[in-house]
């Protein structure tokens, strides 16, 4: 009998102890010091919360464009504050016929391990990224370079491992031959996908992906990306040949959930966080000084399934576009965090911002008339979008406007994950208009026009084909001066939007929130924070 009694006492003591330790944990806490901005003579340190995919991969051909990739890698050219492509590692990018390009590299650039950046480093990196079996997700960006198809045959194994169009003439001269004239080639080179890689990378591409040695303003501190570790430390590279980073250290914390990243920022666990939608609107109302905004270089559009005979008549597409009140969507629903679109790119992109689309205004009377002239609407209508709460909300507003303004009564919504939706679109399985976002892969109108409207582009979701458009865009690609490229691309854009395979709706605004002790938080054309320009006070 007694042992039982003693055991009970023991249990009670243990419980009391546990309760005490819980109390101690509760009272003995302040904000955890990790990731608080700290100024210092060396520039100090700060932390940023990013979506988990930002740090899923770090190799140029795998990572794509992100704040983190921009900090680790410096490609040949960069976009200056006026939206022009200027030299970064490149001294000059020249061509007499826009097909054969000669790129002279600046001297004195080194990788984080001290190895000099040479023409060879670029050639090797590009070959690895473009080589099909390496399966680098961004390898398709090399498709304009001669020899890409040899590395990515439609069937079987590639016979070559190097791009025939890329040749390192000497340590500082790179010759590139494209498969067609491309005047915007210097713009495409601004992508970090075109960054160089050091010799050591090619011994173990998978290991290099987790702990890369780059040539950007910041180097990745060991151990790099590790399973279960949600934090990446960037250290300023003192041998950097470009404009030096301000802060000495940056802690990058990854979050799976955007809401969590934002709440963590509010509690002070990170100094910078990306924000959008209602959270960004809330931050703008309460702390306008510490919010950085930028209109994203892309467009949210309502695409029409041109393979569906109900949408073959242009008047039907016009009616849909005219029935949507873009101002109501951007002002009320998106709380001003978007601007109504009448083109495929906003003015933050070279060549963008013109009123290219005549039917991108709100005119419900004309919409109804056009629809009835085209024979009216019969039967059900399905609207498609990606499984994303923000897009679904916008599509619901579009649905209501179509119902009210066109009198289409039976409308349903279908939301699918993007890796399901895009294959369905390219297989022509979607049976109604679809709401999607398309961002420019480099800040030029040409990029958007090429991605959305050219035949064979993976993101030409509507299946649009037009001889006039193609010849105008080809002429833009062969034009010699920037004003001429822009003028021709704009004509191509107007041609396409006259045919209206898709109706541009709005250009979203993205943002970042930051603590009061940080300055220089700027967003670039795709809404990415420029880490190297942030300084700690």
């Amino acid at each position: 009998m007694f042992p039982v009694l003693r055991r009970r006492k023991g249990v009670r003591a243990a419980a009391a102890g546990a309760a005490l330790s819980v109390l101690a944990a509760l009272t003995g806490c302040g904000a955890d010091g990790v990731g608080r901005a700290a100024p210092g003579p060396d520039g100090g340190s700060f932390s940023i919360g990013v979506p988990a995919w930002y740090v899923a991969h770090l190799t140029p051909g795998r990572a794509g464009k992100s704040s983190v990739a921009d900090a680790i890698w410096t490609p040949l050219t960069r976009i200056d504050d006026r939206g022009r492509a200027v030299g970064a590692v490149a001294q000059s990018v020249r061509s007499s016929d826009l097909r054969h390009w000669t790129i002279e590299l600046r001297h004195g650039w080194t990788f984080h391990n001290g190895e000099p950046v040479t023409a060879r480093s670029f050639a090797d990196a590009w070959n690895a990224a473009a080589y099909g079996p390496n399966a680098m997700p961004y390898g398709y960006l090399f498709s304009d370079i001669q020899g890409y198809t040899d590395l990515n045959p439609l069937k079987g194994k590639p016979k070559r491992t190097t791009l025939s169009g890329v040749r390192a003439v000497d340590a500082h001269t790179l010759k590139v031959t494209l498969s067609r004239p491309l005047s915007v080639f210097p713009y495409t080179l601004t992508s970090t996908v075109f960054a160089p890689m050091p010799k050591t990378a090619f011994k173990d591409l998978a290991g290099f992906d987790r702990l890369p040695i780059g040539n950007g303003p910041y180097e990745v501190a060991a151990p790099g990306i590790k399973p279960g570790v949600q934090q990446l430390t960037l250290r300023r590279y003192d041998g950097y040949a470009g404009p030096e980073g301000s802060a000495a250290r940056i802690t990058v914390k990854s979050y799976q959930d955007d809401a969590t990243a934002f709440t963590s920022f509010q509690s002070g666990a990170v100094d910078v966080a990306l924000a959008s939608g209602s959270r960004l609107a809330q931050a703008r109302r309460t702390d306008a000084d510490d919010v950085a905004l930028s209109t994203a270089g892309g467009v949210v559009y309502l695409g029409f399934p041109l393979w569906d005979k109900r949408f073959r008549d242009r008047r039907v597409r016009q009616a849909f576009s005219l029935a949507i009140n873009r101002h109501a969507v951007t002002r009320s629903l998106l709380q001003g965090l978007a601007s109504p679109a009448a083109g495929i790119a906003p003015d933050t992109v070279t060549g963008g911002g013109q009123r290219a689309c005549a039917d991108c205004r709100y005119d419900p009377t004309r919409a109804r008339r056009l629809l009835s002239e085209a024979g009216g609407w019969h039967g059900r209508l399905t609207l498609w979008t990606q499984a994303d709460p923000a897009m679904q909300t916008v599509l619901e507003a579009v649905l209501n406007q179509l119902r009210t303004n066109l009198g289409i009564t039976s409308i349903t919504l279908e939301a699918q994950p993007t890796d399901q939706l895009y294959p369905n679109l390219s297989a022509h399985k979607a049976d109604g208009p679809f709401l999607l976002y398309m961002g420019a892969s480099y800040p030029a109108l040409y990029a958007q026009a090429q991605q959305l409207f050219t035949t064979g582009s993976g993101t030409n979701t509507t299946g649009y084909r037009s001889g006039t458009f193609t010849s105008l865009l080809d002429r833009a690609a062969a034009a010699r001066t920037t004003p001429r490229i822009t003028a021709l691309t704009r004509r191509a854009e107007r041609t396409a939007l006259d045919d209206l395979p898709l109706a541009p709706l709005y250009h979203p605004v993205t943002g970042a929130v930051h603590g009061p002790d940080l300055t220089g938080v700027h967003l670039d054309f795709l809404g990415d924070v420029q880490l190297a320009r942030i300084s700690v006070r």
Binding site: D32, A56, P137, G139, P153, P227, T263
Partner: protein, 309 residues
């Protein structure tokens, strides 16, 4: 006992085979193309890259052949390689400690709070504490637990600053208490209701009257004569809640940014990273089966009347 164990282990073999196959088939039958999702949402993969990826991950063979590859690897303790070229076993090794800490913390909260409230409700049946427990449980069950989690983050993490909002930087227990509390809310009401019913039933039993009659103390009667026999359904209930708990970690670890198995499963589903989802789900099924076995054995320890053979 030994015969019982052997029989149970043998019956587990078809269960393991069946469940892993169902998981495998379900994951690879998910709509959407893993190769497409590797390339990013709005990008086209070149055919050569797609072919290389498919053959690298055996995506080009039939489902049964793929499963065969996987199972033979599994028997050798190899969980395969994920779509980012990282061995799944290293992901599991990194995530396991986090999830075990979270699950055990949750379990303890569930067990202590659930039985405690249940006993309280039973002893004060029909009066205020009973009604309060009933009302509280109904309220808790009515609110989805991820809503509770977001609210808890804002209130206890941001406004009051008692706990970190997310992450595991503060270590155990501080980083784990808030997510564990939110997760425990899933099971506490059930455990409390069950305890209440079992305790009420036993309170009226004759052996309790005997104990009271022979002059045993109030607490002693309650703990030794009422609670102990009442524990049998509660223990099996706690075993079963482990299933909901493990699946709950997927959302909770995502919301609280805890780099555990649930977090990795969630990311695996998002990125269509089949090997990760299959590997971790398989492991969770094995754990669940093992816990059930332990629960069965525990019956004997709690109630000597039960014979396993």
């Amino acid at each position: 006992m030994a015969r019982f164990l052997v029989r149970r282990l043998l019956t587990m073999i078809p269960v393991v085979l069946g469940t892993t196959f169902i998981i495998y088939a379900a994951v690879y039958a998910l709509p959407g193309d893993p190769v497409q999702s590797l390339a990013g949402p709005d990008r086209a993969v070149s055919p050569a890259a797609a072919a290389a990826l498919r053959s690298h991950y055996h995506l080009d063979s039939s489902l049964l052949v793929q499963y065969g590859h996987y199972l033979s690897g599994l028997l050798h303790g190899d969980f395969g390689i994920d779509f980012g070229d990282v061995p799944v076993s290293s992901l599991i090794a990194a995530g396991w400690p986090v999830t075990v800490r979270l699950a055990l913390t949750t379990w303890v909260i569930q067990a202590v709070a659930g039985t405690g409230l249940g006993v309280l409700a039973a002893v004060r049946a029909g009066r205020f504490p009973d009604l309060a427990v009933l009302g509280g449980s109904t309220l808790i069950l009515a609110v989805p637990y991820f809503v509770t989690a977001y609210v808890a983050q804002i209130v206890f993490g941001d406004r009051l600053g008692w706990f970190p909002v997310s992450g595991v930087d503060a270590g155990w227990p501080r980083s784990y208490l808030l997510p564990a509390l939110c997760l425990a809310l899933l099971g506490v009401p059930e455990v409390a209701r069950l305890t209440r019913a079992a305790v009420l039933e036993n309170l009226g039993a004759e052996f309790v009257d005997t104990a009271v009659a022979k002059g045993a103390g109030r607490i002693r009667v309650l703990v030794r004569h009422v609670l102990r026999p009442s524990l049998i359904p509660i223990v099996s209930m706690l075993g079963l809640t482990l299933g909901t708990l493990l699946s709950g970690t997927i959302l909770i670890e995502g919301i609280f940014n805890l780099p555990g198995l649930g977090y990795q499963t969630f990311q695996g589903v998002q990125q269509h990273n089949g090997p990760v989802v299959v590997g971790i789900s398989t492991l969770l099924v094995l754990t669940f089966l093992f816990i059930n076995l332990v629960v069965d054995v525990l019956y004997v320890v709690i109630d000597p009347r039960i014979r396993l053979d």
